[in-house]
Amino acid sequence: MSNLDQLIEELKRDEALGEVELRLAGGESVTAILDDCRAGMARVGELFQEGEYFLADLILSAEIFKSAAALLEPHINPEQQQKALGKVLLATMRGDIHDLGKNILATLFRVHSFEVHDLGVNVEPEDLVQEVKDFQPDFVGISALITTSFESAKEATDQLEKEGLRDGIKILVGGAVTTPEVKTYLGADFQTHDATAGVAYCVNAMGGC
């Protein structure tokens, strides 16, 4: 029995990564190891929501997950490679440079096997629209922490509508200052202050559980 999920829950980075290496050396399947990592991450998310854990804890668990995934990556053979559950495009729009929440969200999407393309911060509406054309995501996630970025987000969603790109995608908006009114203003499909809820929405929409 492994205690990898427990080690991640307790934020013991070095021990957790050591355990990943040990289990890989023992010939265990990448999928089984990843599942334990996911279980640990889920527990950290719960503890954050319960107020037991704080932002830095959440971020550290995401860092541990990223390092574990990097260790596992070379061991995934192409046949075993899980098909991505869906494609997500993330951005913080022009006028906004806050990215801590968006970065956590990106990791959580990866934890749940989504393919993520993160455009970064201060993103021009036309760059987001272009990326929708190129990357063809299932979901567009807009992170907004400052009121000044609602306008640029609106320019982007209007342009997507105008170019007939809106119907094929679901738009999510999140971040501390977003409200249901912002969702309506942008014509988005989902709004939240909770990254886990955003990921759950997308998992459901892809018919996952």
């Binding site: 934020l11 932002l55 201060n122 306008e151 202050h193």
Partner: protein, 391 residues
């Protein structure tokens, strides 16, 4: 009673003639609208054809930078005075322009701590700068950068002293510029490295984290001394220690790593006979007892979008902290009606101003805050804030 007496009286938890009103950064867009003027836009210079070596050399001359910077801050203070504020933040910053082809503009600002500030345009066409990451992602890079910038750290307090003295001279008869030693030790520690990188150190390389914190504490005390040298009775310090739902780090971890540093800062300010107001956004309810314990005398922004309720905080900490805030900048001061603004002012004053210890202000600043709404806030503050308060 003049603006300064009003402000200082309130911070000392006494009732002045009325509740004072304070401004924060006063965004360039806001000050331009208030003053009806267009500031020089650095983007115009940077977009011009041809080599920029001379421009870079000129802007990176401390005298030119200091002069340009004080003129920008003076516009902000001028606007704050015109809005009818009693006091306003005044932050000294030392930036240097660097070429950076990876950015749209092709240039970025660096500060001595190792932050990168990107240049862009706000919704009104003004050039603005925003924190865009750091140059110190590893131990080696951090140590090298601090060594490289040794000379800048030496002169920064001197420049800050000159800046704050000059502002007192320029504005001393109109508005109280409250010297703000910013950013604080937490932000100076994490922003040049990245949040994930720095907070990981707290768990995995505590000794190095302590080295960083000790370095910045030392420098911060010198910066604070410079602010105090300008004759301040109230000074500001700050670090964003909260986010929407609670503190950024475990409160016990903040105490363990930063408690001593914050205590030293508060003690230094008190030794010099002044009061220390602390700026932090986000939900900091769980940190208020620590703030009192560290010796902070007040808090500023009390962000309503992060469940900071002035009346509740007053009940929680009594008159151990002066409270400054907390009008919403998501809706109220952007698009709120006059009635909504009046109501929010009346409510904040009723919740926290009895017995002094309350200063009215916006919960932050950004380019879409409407000067008309700020004007309504000031008018309502004067109407509902007269002492003795009408219950």
């Amino acid at each position: 009673m003049n603006f300064k007496e009003r402000f200082v009286t309130a911070i000392n938890h006494k009732e002045a003639d009325r509740v004072p009103i304070m401004g924060l950064i006063v965004d360039t867009a806001t000050s331009c609208k208030v003053l009806g003027k267009q500031p020089a836009n650095i983007l115009d210079l940077l977009k011009e054809e041809g080599p920029k070596d001379d421009l870079l050399a000129m802007l990176n001359t401390p005298e030119v930078w200091n002069q340009t910077y004080i003129d920008i801050v003076s516009d902000n203070l001028e606007a704050a005075a015109k809005l009818g504020y009693d006091a306003n933040w005044a932050i000294y910053t030392l930036l240097q322009l660097h070429e950076d082809k990876s950015t749209k503009v092709g240039f970025v600002w660096h500060d001595p701590y190792g932050r990168v500030w990107e240049i862009s345009e706000d919704n009104n066409g003004n050039s603005i700068i925003n924190y865009a990451g750091g140059l110190c992602g590893t131990k080696e890079k951090w140590r090298a950068k601090m060594e490289e910038n040794k000379a800048l750290f030496e002169v920064l307090p001197d420049y800050a002293r000159e800046f704050h003295c000059a502002l007192q001279q320029r504005f001393g008869d109109r508005i109280y510029p409250v010297g703000y030693a910013a950013p604080g030790v937490f932000e100076n520690s994490w922003q040049p490295m990245g949040f994930a990188e720095f907070t990981s150190l707290l768990y995995q390389d505590a000794d190095f984290a302590r080295e960083i914190i000790a370095f910045h504490t030392e420098h911060y005390l010198r910066h604070m001394d410079a602010v105090l040298d300008a004759g301040a009775e109230v000074v500001l310090g700050g670090d964003d220690l909260g986010q929407k739902t609670g503190p950024m780090l475990r409160p016990a971890m903040i105490e363990e790593f930063f408690g001593e540093s914050y205590r030293k800062v508060a003690a230094r300010v008190h030794e010099r006979g002044a009061k220390l107001i602390w700026h932090s956004c986000g939900n900091i309810n769980a940190l208020l007892e620590l703030f009192v314990d560290w010796g902070f005398d007040g808090i500023i922004t009390m962000e309503p979008t992060a469940q900071m309720d002035v009346a509740q905080v007053r009940q929680q900490v009594g008159h151990n902290l002066a409270l400054i805030g907390n009008l919403d900048v998501s809706h109220l001061l952007v698009k709120g009606t006059r009635e909504e603004v009046e109501q929010a002012v009346e409510q904040a004053i009723a919740g926290a101003a009895e017995g002094g210890g309350f200063v009215l202000s916006a919960a932050h600043s950004h380019s879409l805050i409407d000067p008309q709404r700020l004007q309504w806030m000031v008018e309502a503050g004067k109407k509902y804030g007269k002492y003795p308060l009408v219950r």
